[in-house]
């Protein structure tokens, strides 16, 4: 498979993705409150935190679905705040939604064809290779709406990859999956990163899944990033234990 993340290097040594003091307010509520975050080319980071802590809002801001109230998002050395959503995606920041978002009345094959329309010259694996990667070759003629929940998640992942992204935003990629499917998804994400060197931000609740991804973690609470580090460091953080891990893991 060819390198989908080719051309990731940024000019002037600027970080690949730099989020600077980002704020998003809804009325009196600050869903995202002065978040700073840096992601290097080809790097992966998990973002964890309790429901309503601002994780998905952060994704909405990065992808241009929502405008920030203040702060900046710099991608490959340039601010992307205010750019249209489709232009941000066409430039390589592509998102997988929490609820599998596919084209249900179209075949699996056509889902990939429709997704792969905009690449701006970036090379990418063929649809057949992508379907093979996510294990859906046998389902290629089936309607996407007839797939199981896990298969839809994988199909959406293949759709995202078909755009030759430089950065993928995975919003709870293992939500609603069985244990076996989760294991397969971890394997898939590792394979994707090995094959394409695509950078990734991953929102996830399942701590076993996060541990298996084996990447740096940022913890969000009430719109702020309150802790960062590897899995063990984050797990030992008293604030995190009390507010999130403690509640999850007992």
């Amino acid at each position: 498979m060819q390198d989908a993340a080719e051309g990731n290097a940024t000019s002037g040594g600027a970080p690949f993705l730099e989020i600077i003091s980002l704020v998003k307010s809804f009325g009196g509520v600050r869903a995202v409150d002065h978040v700073d975050l840096v992601l290097d080319t080809g790097a992966m980071r998990c973002i964890i935190g309790p429901n309503g802590c601002g994780k998905t809002t952060l994704f909405n801001l990065i992808t241009g679905y929502l405008p920030p109230s203040s702060g900046d998002i710099r991608y490959r050395g340039q601010s992307i705040v205010g750019r249209p959503l489709h232009k941000i995606a066409a430039d390589g920041i592509v998102r997988k939604f929490q609820v599998p978002s596919v084209f249900p009345e179209m075949t699996v094959e056509d889902n990939i064809r429709a997704a792969a329309g905009v690449r701006h010259g970036r090379s990418v694996a063929s649809p057949a290779e992508l379907l093979d990667m996510v294990g859906l070759t046998k389902n290629r003629r089936h309607m996407a709406g007839t797939l199981s929940h896990g298969e839809k998640q994988w199909l959406e992942l293949a759709m995202v990859l078909s755009t030759a992204p430089r950065l993928i935003l995975l919003d709870e990629p293992a939500a609603g999956m069985t244990r076996t499917e989760k294991t397969e998804t971890v394997r898939l994400i590792h394979e994707i990163r090995r094959e394409t060197n695509v950078a990734a931000l991953v929102i996830e609740h399942d701590m076993a899944f996060v541990a298996a991804l084996d990447c740096p973690i940022s913890v969000m609470m009430l719109g702020r990033i309150v802790a960062s580090g590897d899995y063990d460091t984050v797990r030992r953080d008293p604030l995190v234990r009390e507010a999130y891990l403690g509640a999850v893991n007992g």
């Binding site: 489709h86 592509v94 998102r95 596919v102 889902n111």
Partner: protein, 329 residues
């Protein structure tokens, strides 16, 4: 190569319509020439509504623009060009003007606005009503009376040469136009552009967040559909000989919506057959039923929406699909 069920139904229909003039009178064949123009119109709406998911309740605007453009050219009414009477220029003007009009309307509706669903439907209805009023109030377009004595198709470059008004040649020109248009639009639907339009219908946000400029896609779909409707309008008026404001307004827009819904909006051929079937039944039953025909059509429409939401021919194609799937294991 395995043919789709829609293609199979289309081929059977094509054979049927090729043979039909040998069975029926020329008078009936002449009616079918008009029905084919309506069917072409239904195909244009089916593409934008059924395939791309954009509900246009004012699609007669583009049909009417095509009809008026052809009429103005062939009647020698183009300002500054009184000698111009060419059917070919009229045809080109009909297609170009209706395409441009649909693109401009599409740009107004979709660029930076994202009008969709019921809101799009309401605005398109308003557009049809406004354009119909404009046509009625335009003395240049003949006002309420419209443009009369529109010449038939003439083969010469500028309205000279042999005229085609015999029912049989018109019938086969219409059938060829319709078959070619359906085949071409099926190719477009299966192309990457067409697949993107289907995706637009299914999940606009997903397509948008994959990097597609959905506004451009919608405008392109509208323009293509508008051009086809304009072609239908032009072919209609050279047979009918009369372009009236009713061709550009709400009433015909509602009619075509019913033909497409009854035939089936999931397949272009189903929509075309819906138009032909409704118009044929209307011509036969309206004589028998008189004023009660619209009532019967309305009831059939409601029953179809409830029992055959995919339309009558759409349901047939769907069942054929499932039967063939089962037969192939």
């Amino acid at each position: 190569m395995k043919l789709s069920s829609a293609t199979l139904v289309g081929l059977v229909a094509l054979i049927f319509f090729v043979v039909l003039p040998f069975i029926v009178s020329d008078w009936v064949a002449a009616d079918f020439g008009i029905y084919f123009a309506y069917a072409l119109f239904a195909v244009s709406l089916c593409f934008v509504w059924g395939h791309a998911g954009l509900l246009s309740l004012g699609h007669a605007v583009y049909f009417g623009i095509g009809a008026y453009a052809m009429s103005l050219v062939t009647l020698g009414m183009v300002p500054g060009l009184p000698e111009l009477h060419s059917t070919w220029v009229g045809l080109a003007a009909a297609i170009v003007l209706s395409t441009v009009a649909a693109a401009v309307v599409g740009w107004f509706f979709f660029a930076n606005r994202g009008l969709k669903g019921a809101f799009l439907g309401i605005v398109t209805v308003a557009l049809a009503v406004i354009v119909e009023r404009l046509a009625i109030n335009s003395s240049y377009l003949g006002g309420m009376n419209g443009l009369m004595s529109v010449p038939p198709i003439t083969l010469g470059l500028n309205g000279d040469g042999p005229e085609i008004y015999d029912p049989l040649p018109i019938y086969y020109i219409g059938l060829t136009l319709l078959a070619v248009a359906i085949a071409a639009m099926m190719r477009v639907s299966a192309s990457r552009f067409g697949v993107s339009l289907a995706a637009l219908r299914e999940n606009e946000l997903r397509l948008w967040t994959l990097g597609h400029d959905v506004a451009k896609l919608k405008i392109a779909a509208f323009a293509l559909s508008g051009g086809l409707a304009g072609l239908a309008g032009a072919f209609f008026v050279v047979q009918f000989g009369f372009a009236a404001p009713s061709l550009i307004g709400f009433s015909l827009s509602a009619d075509v919506l019913i033909w497409v819904a009854l035939g089936g909006r999931n397949a272009l051929i189903a929509a075309a057959l819906g138009a032909v079937a409704v118009r044929f039944l209307e011509s036969r039953l309206s004589n028998l039923m008189g004023a009660t025909w619209p009532l019967v059509l309305g009831m059939v429409f409601m029953a179809s929406v409830i029992f055959f939401p995919k339309g009558i021919f759409g349901e047939l194609i769907d069942r054929l699909d499932r039967w063939r799937d089962r037969a192939n294991g």
